[in-house]
């Protein structure tokens, strides 16, 4: 399953009310490490899409949400379960390291 784009308008339904865990990738076009980690998140979404939903939030276009969650570094990857942030991953990481950080959601 490919990642999808989330906006301020869809955040509530797509993220906060999701029945599966959701990883929100806070990113922007001009951020090199965000572009580097993007394809890795696509792979994880393809492989583990049934366990975790991965959505991308563009911090340029949707700054209200980024501010609400206190994002000051990108990429930041926050995992939401039942509307709460349960895991925060800051900075681009190789796939094995991301899988390790997300292990409890992928089992």
């Amino acid at each position: 399953m490919a990642t999808s784009k989330v906006t301020t308008a869809t955040f509530d339904a797509e993220v906060l009310k999701s029945s599966t865990p959701v990883l929100v990738d806070f990113w922007a076009e001009w951020c090199g490490p965000c572009r580097a980690v993007g394809p890795i998140l696509e792979e994880i979404s393809d492989e583990y899409g049934s366990k975790i939903k991965i959505v991308k939030l563009n911090t340029d276009e949707e700054s209200a949400i980024a501010i609400k969650y206190g994002i000051t570094s990108i990429p930041s990857m926050y995992v939401f379960v039942n509307g709460e942030v349960v895991t925060q991953i800051v900075g681009a990481k190789p796939k094995p390291a991301l899988l390790k950080d997300l292990a409890s959601f992928l089992a």
């Binding site: 001009w30 490490p33 340029d60």
Partner: protein
């Protein structure tokens, strides 16, 4: 893949890509592991590079790296966007493992893994990383629009970051533990002329304060030892780099700061068939052009080694 390659290049900044260009043109059929999230190296997080020869009007760091990458590809270098996670460099045939679990064997290896950001080493620096503490001005400057932020450091990267951050911040305070900058004069002069930049000399950061996000810094004067606090919402750390030699500790001779030791003016390490270049070996210059130069030397040294 079970065949033995002539040369594997690990790392993909100016050093790695230049080594790939030269090795490919020497028909050594190189394979280069660019890194899964670090491809392109440190220059990927910079903006304008004004001092790389041949670019009259400057060039964006990521564009420069993209050009080098394409140039390596044009001559047939095999580019792999993955990390090397294990290396056994001791034998005549070097064995390397990548992040996907594949093994590659080679007669020679060129190490160009570059350097990582140096941390101040404070517990709260780590805790508030991503909550006001940042190592990448080009990534994160945007989030500090209209705020007062601190940059720690006194070299080119600190001054460049401070100057870049004035696009967003209301005020940028450059905190440096000495009383003068190490940065190149043109960059230092530009920063000093910038009305949004304030300098705090002879000052070091001893703690980062804030419950969920950066609220203030605890500072110490390096001359008289007096301590003080000052409110900031962001802290950008630019106090230099450490060589990324963790995978080869115990295999290759390193100096006491972790840089690979090369023989004389060559790129030869103490292990036969293993060469090192770029920021991994360079205490002194650490420029894109010097890294590219040493990447070229490493490819030529490897070519000579393989010919024997």
């Amino acid at each position: 893949m079970s065949d033995v390659r002539n040369v594997v290049i690990v790392g993909s900044g100016p050093a790695g890509y230049t080594a790939a260009i030269y090795a490919a043109r020497a028909q050594l059929d190189p394979i280069i592991y660019e890194g899964s999230v670090t491809a392109g190296g440190a220059l990927m997080n910079t903006t304008e590079v004004e001092n790389f020869p041949g670019f009259t009007d400057g060039v964006m760091g990521p564009d420069l790296m993209d050009s080098m990458r394409k140039q390596a590809k044009r001559f047939g270098a095999e580019l792999i966007t993955d990390d090397i996670v294990e290396m056994d460099l001791s034998g005549d045939i070097k064995v390397l493992k990548d992040g996907s679990g594949n093994t590659v064997k080679a007669k020679s290896v060129i190490l160009a893994t570059g350097s990582a950001y140096r941390e101040i080493g404070l517990v709260n620096e780590k805790r508030l990383s991503g909550h006001g503490v940042s190592w990448c001005a080009t990534c994160d400057g945007f989030f500090f629009r209209g705020q007062t932020i601190a940059v720690v450091g006194g070299g080119d990267s600190a001054v460049e970051e401070a100057t870049f951050l004035t696009r967003f911040a209301e005020k940028v305070v450059l905190i440096h533990r000495r009383d003068s900058l190490r940065a190149s004069k043109i960059m230092a002069d530009r920063a000093k002329a910038n009305p949004k930049i304030e300098f705090m000399w002879n000052t070091e950061v001893i703690d980062v304060l804030g419950a969920d996000k950066v609220e203030a810094l605890k500072l110490r004067n390096t001359v008289d030892g007096t301590e003080s606090e000052r409110a900031f919402t962001g802290l950008f750390v630019a106090i230099g780099h450490i060589p990324r030699s963790e995978l080869i500790i115990g295999q290759i001779d390193l100096d006491n700061e972790g840089y690979v030791i090369c023989e004389g003016r060559s790129t030869r390490t103490n292990l036969k068939g293993v060469f090192a270049c770029g920021d991994l070996v360079d205490h002194t210059y650490r420029q894109a052009i010097t890294a590219a130069g040493s990447g070229c030397a490493a490819a030529l040294d490897a070519e000579k080694f393989l010919a024997h």
